[in-house]
């Protein structure tokens, strides 16, 4: 490009100068020729005059020396052709003499294209006429050429000198630019060495060089910064790559653990790229090709239609997630969850289905189990209530609806507090709360009230639910309606109280013992007769108040009867 710049500098000037030179060499010789011929004509005319005067002088003064010298001068001219004395005698002309001696006819023609003629009249006493002098055009042309030759030669030399000067100037201008180009090219390949700053002059190119030098320094600084950045980035990339590899390994491991894998199916070609997991589940060799048609044959008859529909009539651009049961070659059934996206490939020629498939056989098994348990929970006579971690009810069974009298919509979203009433023991409520706050099981009896105002007792079993991360995600409460038992128990307690009142008022000493003979209760007569208070009786054995013989003789039968009575009561 800079060589072109050099040419652009010197070529126009050279061409211009060449044109000027050519024009000069065409114009100047022509003018020179015109001037020369004009000059020659004048010279010839003057010469003719001089010769005429010489003739006149010779004849009048007898002095031929001047004529002789004039003729010598005339004949010494390079272009001299002839000179003649033509005399007129009446109307005729004749050649008196000539030099050199030529035929009269040739001299008198005077129209020859070869000569330039000039003449000058003379007159003497004896005769008069004119001097005719002729110069050769050819000789004049030769003389003119000889005259112009130095001009041609000079202009040629000047042209070449000018051309060389232009080229030298152009090269002088472009040399520093070439250096700058070399430097910038080096900078492009990050070679920042050998910047000849001192070589640049104090002109515009020097300023340009200084600017490029500054730019180079900036680039060096930027490069160093970039290098640092690059090193940091490289380190970061390595770190991230390592993390990514680790994540990939983890993902693969997770996929393996979750029985998850990628697949791609080409609907148009009927082929697919399936993971090792599928081959393993189908119990076929991975080296065998598995077409979509072949894959369909493994699908359970109940899912065959939906699977075939997915493959045979894919809806482009849609996402899907389905679960299919497949039968392996050995007849074992397993479940696959297949999700993916149906779209065209990059060339928009083939319809592709790609996504994830997961072995969900175990989950399906659990779901079946849960389904069974759910049936149990649905159909048990006990209340089953499931709440979330915030103790909001998310599920209840039919028995709960029957016992509480509320509809499912009224219950879902509420807390179990909705079942409590003013009769519910606050201590029981606090007890339940404390236990649940400590993520512990709760087993207690609680009095609730139904929607229609009926009080009922429940034997409450609350179990906190934890996920695999041991995070609490809810509670399940199984509640047994113990209202009849509770009512019977209360009635029994009332009767026992009545009995104890009777015994307390009896004059006989009456007490109750446990199986080991520890005192559980004594009546007032007992305490009065033995002179003890309630504090004296605490954790005391009956044997401490009787000797051994007395115990055997008097107390044992009573005790036995009391014990038997007590057993009957409880």
């Amino acid at each position: 490009m800079l060589r072109g710049l050099s040419i652009q500098i010197w070529l126009p000037f050279t061409v211009l100068f060449l044109i000027i030179t050519i024009a000069f060499n065409l114009y100047y010789p022509k003018k020179q020729e015109d001037f020369y011929i004009k000059n020659k004509n004048n010279e010839l005319k003057e010469l003719a005059k001089t010769v005429g005067l010489g003739v006149e002088l010779s004849l009048s003064e007898d002095n031929f020396q001047g004529l002789k010298k004039t003729l010598d001068f005339a004949s010494g001219r390079k272009d001299f052709e002839f000179i003649a004395i033509v005399v007129r005698e009446g109307l005729t002309e004749r050649v008196f003499t000539s030099y050199p001696i030529l035929p009269e006819k040739e001299i008198l023609t005077k129209k020859s294209e070869k000569y330039i003629y000039q003449r000058s009249k003379f007159s003497s006493n004896e005769f008069h006429g004119y001097i005719l002098i002729a110069a050769s055009k050819r000789k004049m042309s030769e003389e003119l050429s000889a005259l112009n030759r130095p001009i041609y030669f000079s202009t040629l030399i000047i042209f070449f000198l000018t051309f060389i000067s232009y080229v030298a100037i152009a090269r002088r201008i472009t040399r520093p630019l070439n250096q700058l180009v070399k430097i910038t090219e080096d900078m492009r390949v990050e070679n920042f060495n050998n910047f000849p700053l001192h070589q640049f002059t104090r002109d515009e190119i020097g300023k340009l060089g200084q600017s490029i030098y500054d730019l180079q320094q900036k680039l060096i600084e930027q490069r160093n910064q970039n290098k640092e950045l690059y090193d940091g980035l490289e380190h970061e990339i390595k770190l991230r790559t390592k993390e990514l590899e680790q994540a990939t390994d983890d993902l693969i491991e997770s996929q393996r653990a979750a029985s998850l894998a990628n697949y791609t199916m080409n609907v148009n070609s009927g082929t697919g790229k399936f993971p090792e997991l599928l081959f393993k589940l189908l119990e076929i060799d991975q080296s065998e090709s598995l077409s979509l048609e072949t894959l369909k044959t493994f699908v359970h008859k109940d899912d065959y239609l939906s699977f075939s529909s997915l493959i045979d009539h894919p809806s482009e651009g849609s996402n899907f997630k389905n679960e299919f049961c497949l039968i392996s070659t050995s007849g074992n059934s397993f479940w696959l969850s297949i999700s993916g996206l149906i779209k065209r490939d990059v060339h928009s020629t083939n319809l592709m289905i790609s996504g994830l498939l997961q072995d969900i056989t175990e989950r399906k098994s659990y779901e079946n189990e849960i389904k069974k348990l759910s049936l149990v929970a649905q159909n048990t006579s006990n209340c089953v209530i499931i709440t979330d971690a915030y103790r909001k009810i998310i599920w209840v069974n039919e028995s709960t609806l029957k016992i509480t009298g509320y509809s499912r919509d009224e219950i879902i979203g509420n807390t179990p507090k909705m079942f409590q009433c003013e009769k519910t023991n606050p201590k029981t409520i606090d007890f339940i709360r404390e236990k649940l706050d400590e993520n512990e099981r709760v087993n207690c009896e609680v009095l609730n009230r139904s929607k229609d105002g009926r009080d009922y007792w429940l034997d409450l079993n609350i179990v906190p639910l934890f996920n695999e991360s041991d995070d609490l995600y809810g509670y399940i409460a199984v509640e047994t309606d113990i209202t009849p038992i509770k009512e019977a128990s209360l009635e029994l307690e009332e009767r026992e109280k009545q009995l104890r009142d009777i015994l307390d008022n009896s004059s006989e000493m009456i007490h109750t013992l446990d199986k080991k003979g520890n005192l559980l209760w004594v009546n007032q007569s007992w305490k009065d007769n033995l002179g003890v208070s309630d504090s004296d009786l605490h954790n005391r054995n009956i044997s401490e108040f009787f000797d051994h013989k007395t115990k055997l003789e008097f107390t044992w039968p009573i005790l036995r009867r009391l014990l038997m009575q007590n057993e009957n009561l409880t």
Partner: protein
């Protein structure tokens, strides 16, 4: 035939009279010369010299012709004797000769004295003067018929 004979006789008469006249006039003229390598010349040689047909003498000295100008009384005689014409004719003769570059032009001088002095001063010169003029006898050139 008679007319032809008459014309022929008339021509011969004119020629003979001219020759007689030339010889007669020749006696009135003196030829002088300086260092021309000889003291005598044949008349024909003299005429040849005076008509510019000789460039140098036998001693290799250049011939310089000195003639009386038209102002000189001897001019007409000289023209008549040596050129067989008038003074103007002699001038035309020399004009033609000089113009053609065939000879160096003669020196025309107005008086015999000038001619004598010129001849004395210029070796190789030969001049024509009128008889009766004093001149150094050493310059005289004898003419042999």
């Amino acid at each position: 035939m008679k007319i032809r004979s008459l014309l022929f006789i008339s021509l011969l008469t004119l020629l003979s009279q001219s020759t007689i006249a030339q010889n007669g006039d020749m006696n009135n003229l003196v030829i002088i010369g300086n260092n021309i390598g000889t003291v005598s010349l044949k008349k024909t040689t003299l005429i040849n010299v005076l008509k510019g047909r000789l460039d140098s003498w036998n001693n290799n000295v250049t011939v310089k012709i000195v003639l009386p100008s038209q102002k000189n009384e001897s001019a007409a005689l000289t023209a008549k004797v040596f050129y067989g014409t008038t003074v103007k004719g002699m001038q035309k003769f020399w004009l033609s000769l000089v113009f053609q570059g065939r000879a160096n032009p003669p020196i025309f001088l107005d008086t015999d004295e000038e001619i004598i002095i010129f001849v004395q001063k210029n070796p190789g010169s030969i001049g024509v003067i009128h008889e009766g003029v004093d001149y150094p006898k050493s310059l005289k050139i004898n003419i042999i018929n």
